[in-house]
Amino acid sequence: MIRLRAYACIVAAMAIAACHRAPARVLRVCSDPNNLPFSNRAGEGFENKIAELLARDRHATLEYTWWAQRRGYVRHTLKAGACDVLMGVPTAFDLAQTTNPYYRSSYVFVARRDRHLDLRSLDDPRLRRLRIGVQLIGDDFSNSPPAHALSNRGIVQNVVGYSVFGDYSRPCPLAGIVDAVDRGDVDAAVVWGPAAGYFAKTRATDLQLNPVTPQADSPSLPFVFDISMGVRHGDVALKQELDDFIARRRGQIDAILAGYGVPRTEGH
């Protein structure tokens, strides 16, 4: 009897001690399991690294809800309450409440340096005869800004479209368009900066990246985008906490982005 009672006391004491410690916080992040350089299930993307930094900063355990970033992504993850934070969305994104931006990038021209093209402007006359790869979204009245910009200039015959979704059965679905430049399937491509920067670092040939100019076509067709984290509309406390994190840890966030070769545009 005595031994039993002593055991019960120990259990009670442990329970009280546990109550006095802050409960372990869980940071619930919505993420794509196969979308390098942004994220993957192995945690190898820069959004994974920034999420880890955030979790350490907030003394939280990191938990992911994995969902391919397709139509319905926000609905099935953030809005469904399965997770609380989107690590990267454009600051002007309606489906979530966005934080202050933590980086700004641009669509870039990607070409092999040994071609000496040094493309910088969407108005470069050579774009009419070179074979140009662009990322395409598909249907539904939307497409990538460079796809619009080239067609607005009448540059269509020599444009080769690559699905922005790529082949999801492969480890890096977004790599296809950069591979096409590397292999010489196209002379140059116009690619969203973070993907271009990351894949360019690891290709066989030396690839040159130049931000496209102008920075926008009027009306309302930007090639430069601010990127923020996103939370549910109304989740004000979490947004403020993330804003505070972004302000305090700017140096470390920048270092992570630099490590992945993310081209950043002046202004942030």
Binding site: P37, G88, P90, D140, H148, V159, S163, W192, D217
Partner: protein, 579 residues
Amino acid sequence: MTSVDPAALQDDDGQWVLPAKNYASTRFSGLTEINTDNVRQLGVAWTFSTGMVSGHEAAPLVVGDTMYLVTPFPNILYAFDLARPGAPMKWSYDPKPLGAAKGVACCDLVNRGASYANGSIFFNTLDGRTIAVDAATGEPKWIAQLADINKGETITMAPLVVKGKVLVGNSGGEFGVRGWITALDAASGKIAWRGYSTGPDKDVLIGPSFKPFYADYRGKDLGISTWPGEAWRIGGGTVWGWISYDADLNLIYYGTSNPGPWNPGQRPGDNKWTATTFARDADTGEARWAYQTSPHDLYDHDGVNEWVLADLQMGGQTRKVAMHPDRNGLLYVLDRSTGEVLSAAPYGFVNTNHGVDLKTGRLIDASDQEMKGTRQGVVTRDNCPGAPGMKDWQPSSFSPTTRLLYIPRQNLCEDVEGMSTSYIAGTPYVGASVVFKAGPGGNRGAVTAWDPVGAKVAWEVKENFPVWSGTMVTASDLVFYGTMDGWFKAVNARTGDLLWQFKCGSGIVGQPIAYKGPDGREYVAVQAGVGGWAGAIVAGDLDPRDPTAGNGFGRVMADLKKATTRGGMLYVFALGGGR
């Protein structure tokens, strides 16, 4: 030995073995027990809850004493024993489709039904498979993986079995996939032939027997030359609608979806063979003729709607025609032997085209002079009909006694209001902000009875919401359809007068059927369960404050959330209800 071939079974009004009842796709039942006098006594005989919340678009099948039902994703196939009280479940088959397919589906997780032939039920799964299941036991006979969700392909259409071949097409134009129709050997599931909707003639199965009616369609490899560069490789033209078949001509008929990608400035040319109807040899798949309803589509006006086959007296002679209410707002009557357009008339308010030039067969585009279209950076107002068209996938029916086509449809226009930023696969992009709204009159839907010989409206019932269900017509002059707020209705096929209605638990986007039970009574069955593109605001619990939610349907359908809730239920009705 009773016949097991749908070619014979399609004429038995006791059964409903094909998605559209018969190869002519009339959705006409010869049953007459339920008529205009006694339809008021129609009551619920039995029900079945699917437990699912996506749009329930499929028609049930009835083969012998068994009813078969395929659900939205996860695409479970049920068999019910009609010979026993309450039609208890005989078996169910769960194909366990990959959850990842949900992220690839364009517009809710729908399935449009199954086909029966030779002891098997054939149906498709959202993750791109065609499955043959033993109709008696529920055991799978074969499974063919046809579409690849990793490339954005899904399958939502109902397959059609013709002469021992299962005809299947892909979905996924939103992802820039290349459309195809594939014929599988019904016994083995092996691919017999595949015809693409874009690319070189050999891929499209265009050869020496291709005899299109119009000069526009003659020329080598138009599936390449009507596109810039290699854009045909990602040009769309998916095959997610309906297939019809004429046994005498041995031709199948189906339409392809709109071209991609958006914006149209990127793909100058006619973009063949998107938004195009093909007549193909049922055995070999070789194209016999083609007709493009919307060359260089600007509006998302897919050509996948049903082709209803009938022999009509026109101009003093019997014409073998095919009738087709297109998304672009025109009701086409074609000579189905040749592909000649006999008439093309608007069956609702249209300002995006001026009809068809009957000399050339070409649609007369109104986008320039009327300031219509969806082009990057161009604000346009009151494009009528908008992207969902005058009518979407929901099939019409045709009565050989009234000689009228009963068309369930929308009355929706759209505004294109500039650009908004979005984000997918880690990439920011820019889209036109497209917002739908009610067309002239303020009603968002209608059922239109169309006289195909006179090319005019016979009568029309206005509905508050788009009519996203199919129609079915019987030999006793009853037309059945459902509304998105849950009313299942029977109207007089000659006048449109409402004769009976029943309020179901959820909005109806399914397809009614009629059959004769083992007890000799006539039954009418339909699935309720709101959803689909128009109903995604309820099925997907979208935010009605976002006008562009549901790809344009958000604002115009905001009040649907107050009118109905989601949840699938099969309803079966009979005179006097259950006994």
